[in-house]
Amino acid sequence: MTPLAFEHVFLASQGEPLIEDLDLRLGAGEALVVAGPAGSGKSAVVALAAGLARPEAGTVRLLDGDPADPATGPGLRARAGFAPRAGALLSNLTLADNVALPLRWHRGLGAAAAQAAVEDTYRLMGAEPPPPVQAAYASPDQRELARLARALVLRPPLLVVDEPGAGLDAGVRDELWRLLWRLADEVRCAVLALTVDPGPARALSERVVHLPPRRRTTLRIIRPAP
């Protein structure tokens, strides 16, 4: 199974080309970073991978299925783990309830079993269990950990993270990057991370794809040399 594949994908935004001829293939247990400045299309890549945006041309395959198909898309998204910038936690639920929600929804777990799974996920991340606060009142660190934990709680074969550790202090951010790479190595989870600053990621992986800043003309995705 190929967790994620983009083949000659084109996407426009407000009549302007945003992504042109994106070719990207992520194998099982592989880690890849897509780096680019603001407005270069990183969040669009996440939306395309989840099937919540349709490309003008080309194909996107998520876990060997079509994520944009209304019949199969929700199931594929449930099996993968997405941590988008645009997808906020539910503010009226506690951090733990937010993390447990995919478990309870897709697997029908009761509250106690879901709580145990949440604590297990935080242990996997090397973090303490979340405090019993509503997401609306949690600190940025706590919300960022919960955002990642919610994507991991179902132990997906693919994790897509938009701006891991954004807004956190450098130490916490670096720990998060180390966690992502550990997931790819130890849990055989494919990881696609998108970021403005590839510095912390480059220290851990040679495989970085750069999205150039938007220009008047079309954009190109540059693949690094193997």
């Binding site: 929700p74 199931g75 645009a86 997808g87 009226n92 029908g108």
Partner: protein
């Protein structure tokens, strides 16, 4: 466009807009009922949301509904006493007609619109602005099934139950006031209850159910629709709540009048 055609054009566009809105609400109600009847993912989670909705819309509104029912019955009985110079055997049929068949369902629906309709529209609009709806979609959770279906079901159940509470409170208050005003000249409880029962016919439960169950579904559908259709900006939130209230009141009043006309025909 000629000045003569402009109002015609506006009328046409308005009619099309209204019809498409009604179809959208009807489709939302139909889809929600389908989700309720067919099992699917997230049943336990949606059940929790439904229970919270019934508690907020129904249980927490009981004190206010009791007060409103008591005051409305007081005003009605007082007017009858002044206008008709006596109550006696006529009180039961009067309460049945005005309070139970008409005012009870309408005023209870207005309470629910004011409390829960605005709350739902505001909550969903805020979730839209904050990106929480997108978060659900990215997690493979159907926002309609998680957010809309339990709210429709919860509000319908709550409105039916609240109307029963209203009815009981109004009937008891009417009796108590009659005894207060007329003393021993007022009918005893047995005669009062009998006159009330005789004033009802077999179709009345169906009429009251139609005036509570359908508005419960429709008010929730309108509130959810307005909240989810909010602009991606904070300024859209109060507009969503305001539209939800106005459109819900119009829908409930029109529907209740139609049911009354059909019932008396």
């Amino acid at each position: 466009m000629s000045a003569l055609l402009t109002p015609v054009d506006a009328l046409g566009r308005g009619t099309i807009s209204l019809v498409s809105y009604l179809v959208e609400i009807a489709a939302a109600v139909a889809l929600a009922l389908r989700h309720l009847l067919l099992p699917g993912r997230g049943g336990r989670v949606a059940g929790d949301v439904l229970a919270r909705q019934v508690f907020f819309t129904g249980v927490q509104a009981v004190p206010f509904v009791l007060l409103l029912a008591g005051l409305t019955a007081t005003a009605l009985v007082a007017q009858v006493q002044v206008q008709a110079s006596g109550l006696g055997a006529g009180l039961g049929p009067l309460l049945a007609t005005l309070l139970v068949r008409e005012l009870g369902p309408l005023l209870t629906a207005l309470v629910v619109i004011g409390r829960s309709g605005t709350a739902i529209a505001t909550e969903l609009a805020n979730m839209r602005v904050a990106g929480e709806i997108d978060g659900l979609a990215y997690a493979g959770i159907d926002p309609f099934r998680y957010l809309v279906v339990p709210r429709l079901a919860g509000m319908a159940v709550a409105l039916v139950c609240l109307t029963l509470v209203w009815t009981a409170a109004a009937v008891v208050t009417g009796f108590a006031l009659a005894r207060l005003w007329l003393g021993n000249a007022a009918p005893p409880w047995g005669a009062y209850a009998e006159s009330l029962a005789l004033a009802f016919n077999l179709t009345d439960p169906l009429v009251v159910l139609a005036k509570t169950l359908v508005p419960g579904l429709v008010v929730a559908a309108i509130a959810c629709r307005e909240g989810l259709a909010c602009d991606d900006a904070v300024t859209g939130v109060p507009r969503a709540a305001s539209r939800a209230v106005v459109r819900s009141i119009a829908a409930v009043v029109i529907w209740n009048v139609l049911v009354t006309l059909v019932a008396v025909a």
